[in-house]
């Protein structure tokens, strides 16, 4: 197990060195150890000598794709887990980044990360878009179900459950910072003309915030679990977004981040879309 990760790290370092010294990329975004704490943190490598700092371990749970938006227009390499490649795919589908600007070092046969429950619900174990593969791709497909823990509850029980969960929210927006979908120029929570939702902590505004957040995620969220890891209060962040993921999959046969050519859910339509629940 250990050796597998050190081998991946070694491969990444070798390839990164080559890419940087050949001038194929200007920088590589990857994981490394922080200076003070020694914990895994995103690092940005620009010189080939520093390529040895790049690592890959089961603790690499940040979504690096968001940093690509800071380096538009210059060739950037990125060390990407399969979920990162899905995030990049969403960006490509929404035309936020250009394919020729990025160089993806994809990690094959991802086994999931420590402390991320979402990994158990993930069926994508090989990169979706990739320029250079590390390791052997996983051949067999795995069957996973995106669990619905609240399935058995009545609507009233669910309402109470969410009220309780969201009342713990301190509105620090760590979920937003961690999420790759949250790449709007101005976030709706920061807007005060119009003010979509009050910014103070309270049951009412918290619930509204989480509903609006989930609505923004619909058709983009890939259920990577970054929000849940980031949340300091341990709120069940994925409950609402997961439900919308399932709904988009079941009703529109749409799953985000699997095909860069396919437009995202709300950017397109079909003439025979479902009207389930509409008044006739």
């Amino acid at each position: 197990m250990e050796s597998k990760y050190s081998e991946i790290s070694k491969n990444i370092q070798e390839e990164a060195k080559k890419l940087l010294s050949q001038g194929k990329v200007e920088r590589i975004i990857g994981f490394g150890r922080g200076v003070f704490t020694g914990e895994i943190t995103p690092i940005f490598v620009t010189e080939p000598e520093r390529a040895e700092e790049l690592l890959f371990t089961p603790e690499c749970d940040m979504m690096l794709a968001k940093y690509l938006l800071d380096y538009k227009g210059s060739k950037t390499g990125i060390v990407a887990k399969p979920c990162d490649t899905r995030a990049i795919t969403v960006y490509l589908a929404e035309e936020l980044i250009k394919r020729e600007d990025i160089f993806i070092i994809g990690i094959n046969d991802c086994e999931g990360l420590e402390e991320n429950d979402a990994c158990e619900e993930c069926g994508v174990r090989n990169p979706v878009v990739v320029d250079l593969e590390i390791g052997q791709p996983r051949e067999e497909e795995i069957e996973v179900e995106i669990a619905d823990e609240l399935e058995d509850m009545s609507p009233e029980e669910r309402f109470e459950y969410f009220q309780k969960e969201f009342s713990r929210c301190i509105r620090c927006y760590a979920c937003r910072e961690a999420c790759f979908v949250c790449a709007c120029d101005e976030c709706f929570v920061d807007s005060n003309q119009p003010q979509w939702v009050g910014s103070s902590i309270g049951k009412r505004d918290n619930f509204t915030f989480h509903l609006m957040r989930a609505m923004h995620m619909a058709g983009r969220c890939i259920n990577c679990g970054a929000c849940e890891i980031a949340c300091p209060e341990g709120i069940n962040m994925r409950a609402l977004t997961k439900h919308l993921y399932r709904a988009a999959r079941d009703v529109f046969q749409f799953e985000p981040g699997l095909n860069p050519e396919e437009k995202t859910l709300f950017a397109t339509y079909r003439l025979d879309d479902s009207e389930q629940g509409f008044l006739d």
Binding site: R204, F266, L279
Partner: protein, 154 residues
């Protein structure tokens, strides 16, 4: 809290300028009777309605919403309502899952000639919402008491 029988719901009706608003206009000018509990908001197209507006309506104390646009295929802007249809379906899924009674979230289509249908839809929506009772807000505190407090200047 007022008794359920004489509960007068506040319903926000988002009507598209080209069809549903004209339908409401037709219902009015042909002297059709329909319940007065809707507050009409005229929007250029159902595709203009941001789901945030609808969530915000509940945050601000609306007992329910009604969104109506042109029938699919009849949009003045050709495909605005097709985009809207997906958004509304997902919003409905979200609200239902979060535990907001599905009777409060209503979507329909109404063409400019369907004044009669519009009146019938409003009646249906008002009855649906009357059945589930007043919206107590995301915090469950209710809005009626808040209004009383505001009226008494406290």
């Amino acid at each position: 809290m007022t008794a359920k029988e004489d509960f007068e719901p506040k319903i926000l009706a988002f009507l598209c300028n080209w069809c549903s608003y004209a339908a409401a206009d037709l219902a009015g000018s042909s002297r059709m009777q329909y319940p007065p509990q809707i507050r009409v908001i005229r929007v250029p197209c159902s595709g203009r309605i941001d789901p945030f507006l609808l969530i915000r309506a509940f945050n601000s104390g609306a007992d329910g919403i009604l969104v109506s646009g042109c029938h699919p295929g009849d949009c003045h802007y050709l495909d605005g309502n097709y985009y809207a249809r997906r958004r509304f379906l997902m919003l409905k899924e979200l609200m239902q899952y979060a535990g907001i009674a599905e009777e409060r979230v209503n979507f329909t289509w109404c063409s400019a000639s369907e004044g009669k249908r519009f009146a019938a839809i409003v009646e249906r929506v008002v009855n649906r919402i009357k059945e589930v009772g007043p919206w107590e807000g995301f915090d469950g505190r209710g809005f009626a008491r808040r209004e009383e407090e505001m009226a008494s200047g406290e």
